[in-house]
Symmetry: C2
Subunit: 186 residues, 2 copies
């Protein structure tokens, strides 16, 4: 057994970047291998089921990241709801490199990607909404209002990323997040 050339974490982060940038169909195994710092055949050793398994691993990694980095901040009862929202939006801002990067869920959510990852993508969006809805309750909204506002945040983040990416103008993303903050200051 040779020593691993690229550690799991570094490996998955390289793969993540390729999928996020190119989408599922757009990312070739050679590009994925290059992004990972390995040869194609070595990727198959790490992920015997190939491209699908790599995609699932990347989504799973993203899910873990949100679970460990974003969601806990939204639930940290030591600080006020407003502070939790602010810190959460800070993390989201950094996560998408201030609107210059796109979202992996969207990158993998065209037709063929949806057939493979549909459940995972839906589940992650559901979790995202539920966590923001819980935060909404702490803002004093009733359940219905909290859900509506949580969905609105996801919609605005995704929509502003679409527009910012397409127009190469990340100010669209930044000002949208600022506007979300303002909405919760009333």
């Amino acid at each position: 057994m040779r020593p691993v050339k690229v550690q799991d974490r570094q490996l998955i982060e390289g793969l993540f970047k390729v999928f996020r940038e190119k989408g599922y169909e757009g990312a070739s195994l050679n590009e994925l291998a290059e992004g990972a710092g390995l040869k194609k055949a070595s990727l198959y050793h790490r992920f015997p089921d190939g491209k699908k398994e790599i995609g699932l691993a990347v989504l799973s990694h993203s899910s873990e990241w949100l679970k460990n980095n974003l969601y806990p901040v939204l639930e940290n009862k030591k600080i006020s709801a407003k502070e939790r929202l602010d810190k959460g939006l800070d993390i989201i801002t950094e996560m998408y490199d201030e609107g210059n990067e796109t979202c992996i869920l969207r990158a993998l959510s065209m037709e063929s990607g949806m057939q493979i990852f549909g459940e995972e993508i839906k589940a992650e969006m559901t979790r995202w909404i539920m966590h923001f809805a819980k935060l909404g309750l702490d803002f004093g909204f009733n359940e219905q209002e909290a859900m509506a506002r949580a969905k609105e945040i996801l919609i605005k983040v995704q929509g502003s990323l679409v527009v910012a990416n397409a127009m190469s103008d990340n100010s669209v993303f930044l000002s949208t997040l600022d506007e979300i903050r303002t909405l919760y200051n009333k």
Copy 2:
């Protein structure tokens, strides 16, 4: 010269549907040909430059459609600004089949698509924003406010489509459009 088997309009609409559903990389020429009702080689007769040219034709067709169907409604000075907004949102609702379909601009806007269609996609979003911004002026907003609200509409349409498509729940789209209407009723 044989008679054309499929008229231009029908042809382009078949191609449009395939690109919208599968994305640029995800749509193969065989699938495009099937969607168009022609064989692959016949597609090359109509579009000598191949896939790129087909994509550009599809985008151009979409652009024409908006120019003829959505934008005039937003500018129809015979009816009130509020009525124009309502009718415009009705058209948008139908255009995306109540949130069950995705947007061609988004479908073609991943990495490889952006390299080919980046200018066209950006230009169409800019036109969209400008038309809604002009409508905003008629609502009595100043230029800055009108621009901000126009961008917000595009962001909400795109974002709610992303979420509705990914979660297979078009109510997200419908309620977002309803919310836009409400915002302009104050």
